[in-house]
Amino acid sequence: MYFPDWFIVHYSYMITIFLMVSSLYIIVMRSNMIKKLVGLNLFQTTIYLLYLSPSKITGGTVPIIMYDKPGAIYSNPLPQVLILTAIVVGVATLSVGLALVVRINEEFGTIEEDELFDGNV
């Protein structure tokens, strides 16, 4: 397969991988705790993409059985259900993380990890 064709077939994975790696970069490199959480949330969102893109079938329709159209192609509903759950988990994680950052700010007066670990506070 030539590169352009290969890219067109796999482009959703390329986007997923790019977003995944850049969100990990944000988590590792940023010292601001809120920005780290933004990276973390982006990372989780990327996983939604990983699940959802393969579930779409060309020409596929809503998975409600249509008896008048035998042989209709249905998209797989399961990944969407799973990701609905994963979104809830992601929201819960984000809110716990933000709550912790609020408490850290109250106790230490900073949310920069550099300052926290230098022992200036």
């Binding site: 988590i27 996983i47 994963a86 994680t93 912790l100 850290i104």
Partner: protein, 493 residues
């Protein structure tokens, strides 16, 4: 009637109790509800075991939906063994919690703490029971999110930072697990563990399966605190309330290890040579390094809780050795170490918690002479330390014996030297604490310290004595573990 619903009760009862406890205002009432629910847990676990012994492994379909379409709970020997470990630690430790938590968590937050604790064990029981890969992720997040809260409630303000770091690393780990499940779903079209393992046969040599296994191993390795992925653990254990540290060290890492073992031997078992063996050998070398480095790091810690935390990392390395060996003795050693280490480490953390309750500090320099002030607490600490080091006649020895036997069967005698070497280092780091506690002069801060109250001593002694008892009577622990190892190895052929 109710008996047929036992598997789901194990998970649903603490879940509902968590909601009740969260709306109660009084710390004592919430503790009582927690205690009642926790003491029901071992009964359910043993009832499941008896059901299992009489009728063989069985499944429970959630909502009546037949697997693989619905979620099923599987009950086999491994599930029962893990259920008994977790519920035993919980029921023994909860009486301890009342005074310990009252002294470390503000009264208004105590009901929330107990609520988080119940959610935490809900998550653990869920991971153990479920036969569905994605359901396991949801339970993993339930237990992890509540453990972040349990850690953040520590009295030291650094507990917040420790919880935040654990949240970041833990969420990345859990996300890696979801990526792995996603890749497996793309390749097999199912989430049921038994179904995945059957369908992997056709695609085992394809690259996404290998990628899935690597993601899975790294993701669960974070929760298991495997050596290079353990960085969250020392801070989390050191700053968490002592009760949380005891529960986390006893149960959370073991349950992640359980899930890892299930995936390696039961799900990927058929594709052992193509997929799992190369990845596991990489982590095996890291585990060997981890045993040495974490043991040595434990020697140089000032905070006793941190010594125990680093020793936990080394002990996880032992379990990894057994998983790598993948023969009957080695795997039995790893699985029986789940049980033995849960007893030993919980006992040690409870002992440290008692000292913390009286002294308010567990830095080594402040502990001098504490053995004379708190003789019963420290005697239990000595028993558990001896078991951790692995002297013959203790539970720690039993696991090391099986690991060594497994290593010799594979002709890997250097591993035996490693086991002996790390035991010697364990003598050093535990000996340092005992030396200060027994041979140091009582300092001004510790001179007025009294023995811990009975409600803390009893749980501590139950765990400490059982960590010795299971060194003599191995019928239950090794009997179960070898049966589990046998069935796991049969699956991976």
């Amino acid at each position: 009637m109710i008996v047929s619903h036992l598997p789901v009760l194990q998970v649903v009862v603490p879940l509902l109790a968590a909601l009740i406890v969260a709306v109660v205002r009084s710390g004592t009432v919430s503790w009582m509800v927690t205690f009642l629910v926790s003491s029901a847990m071992p009964f359910i676990a043993f009832a499941l075991l008896f059901q299992l012994l009489s009728s063989g492994p069985f499944t429970y379909e959630i909502g009546g939906w037949v697997a693989p379409f619905g979620i099923e709970y599987r009950v086999d020997f491994f599930t029962c063994f893990m259920l008994i470990i977790v519920s035993f630690i919980c029921v023994v430790a909860v009486p301890y919690a009342r005074l310990s938590i009252a002294s470390e968590v503000s009264p208004g937050n105590q009901p929330f703490f107990y609520s988080l604790y119940l959610l935490f064990i809900t998550g653990l029981f869920g991971i153990i029971m479920t036969g569905d890969a994605f359901n396991a992720f949801v339970f993993m997040e339930i237990s992890s999110l509540s453990s972040y809260g349990m850690i953040a409630m520590g009295r030291d303000r650094n507990a917040l930072v420790a919880a935040y770091q654990y949240l970041i690393i833990g969420t990345i780990g859990a996300s890696f697990y979801v990526i792995a499940v996603g890749l497996l779903y793309i390749m097999t079209g199912t989430l049921n563990l038994v179904d995945i393992s059957e369908r992997l046969r056709d695609v085992e040599s394809m690259r996404p399966v290998l990628a899935a296994f690597v993601f899975l191993f790294v993701g669960l390795g974070v929760k298991f605190a495997l050596f290079p992925l353990h960085l969250w653990l020392p801070n989390a254990y050191a700053y968490a309330p002592c009760f949380s540290a005891a529960i986390l060290s006893g149960t959370a890492t073991k349950v992640s290890g359980y899930l890892l073992v299930i995936f390696i031997f039961r799900v990927f078992g058929v594709s052992f040579e193509y997929v799992t063996a190369p990845v596991i050998s990489v982590f095996f070398f890291l585990a060997v390094l981890g045993i040495i480095i974490a043991s040595v790091a434990a020697v140089f810690q000032d905070n006793v809780k941190r010594v125990l935390a680093y020793s936990s990392v080394a002990q996880v390395g032992y379990m990894m050795l057994g998983i790598y060996l993948a023969n009957l003795s080695g795997l039995t050693g790893a699985i029986v170490h789940f049980f033995n280490h849960a007893l030993i480490k919980s006992a040690l953390f409870l002992a440290v918690g008692s000292v913390f309750y009286r002294l308010g500090d567990v830095h080594l320099r402040n502990l001098s002479g504490i053995g004379k002030q708190m003789p019963l607490t420290m005697a239990a600490f000595v028993l558990a330390s001896v078991s951790l080091i692995g002297l013959p006649g203790t539970a720690g020895f039993v696991s090391k014996w099986y690991l060594a036997q497994g290593a010799l069967e594979r002709g890997m005698w250097p591993l035996v030297i490693l086991l002996v070497f790390s035991s010697v280092i364990a003598v050093i780091y535990m000996g340092r604490i005992l030396e200060v506690a027994y041979f140091g002069e009582p300092s001004s801060s510790s001179v007025n310290v009294r023995e811990a109250p009975a409600s803390m001593l009893v749980p501590l002694w139950v765990l400490a004595l059982s960590s010795i008892y299971f060194g003599f009577d191995t019928r239950f622990s090794v009997g179960m573990a070898s049966k589990v190892a046998e069935t796991l190895l049969m699956g991976s052929g």
